[in-house]
Amino acid sequence: MMSMATRAREPSSTNPGGNFWPAQKSSGNSNSAPEEAFSSLLTGIVCDALSNALGRYVLDILASKGLLDDSDNPKEFDRELQSLFGNGASVLERIVVKDLYRKLSIPYDSDARFDYEKSLATAKEVCFVESRLK
């Protein structure tokens, strides 16, 4: 099985250049490798979700506004998405979580109450367990 770190850095089909991915936050901070892998995975999925839902041009604009800088900080990302999309923010967050869960083989229930922060915490935990098992 391909390592999470490697898989996370693969550019997506809709984002072949990977131009929007923020620089790796490795220098000068205490983020562990699994944390960085999860952050990269999440950022890639957020890019895919925005690009697939609203097009590359919209992703371009949102990236230029710095939206992707906080994609691994659920509270801040949620606040920023709300300010841009209003109620549509939760639809985009669901798209992100659905894709993330699919990649991590976590069952996703559309009918369950949705909490972006908690969903990401679950995904992060699974990602960390996976990386420990490798």
Partner: protein
């Protein structure tokens, strides 16, 4: 319809989000409502009102092929819609009003 209103219509429900992703990932897709619903893991009845909204917006089109009514993405209209959304988002500040 303004860019903001279009954006609200596009992202009004999870089903609509799923439909957007499906058609943007498969822009040449032509299928019945039943087929479209199956592709996003839902029932026909649960997608029908969202499909109608996207038809009304012009993003999707419908035509008859044989005995079936099929849906497909109007690529030109889609471009127009997304451009309008992009122009709207250009004017919105993150974390604040226009």
């Amino acid at each position: 319809m303004s860019g903001g209103e279009i954006l609200s219509t596009l992202l009004a429900s999870e089903v609509r989000g799923d439909l957007l992703i499906l058609f943007h990932k498969n822009p040449g897709l032509i299928d019945t409502v039943d087929g479209i619903a199956r592709r996003i893991g839902r029932t026909t009845i649960s997608v029908i009102s969202d499909v109608r909204e996207l038809l009304q917006l012009g993003l999707l089109k419908q035509k008859r092929i044989g005995a079936s009514e099929v849906l497909f993405l109007d690529r030109a209209k889609d471009r127009e819609i997304l451009e309008s959304v992009a122009n709207h988002l250009k004017t919105v500040q993150i974390g604040g009003s226009k």
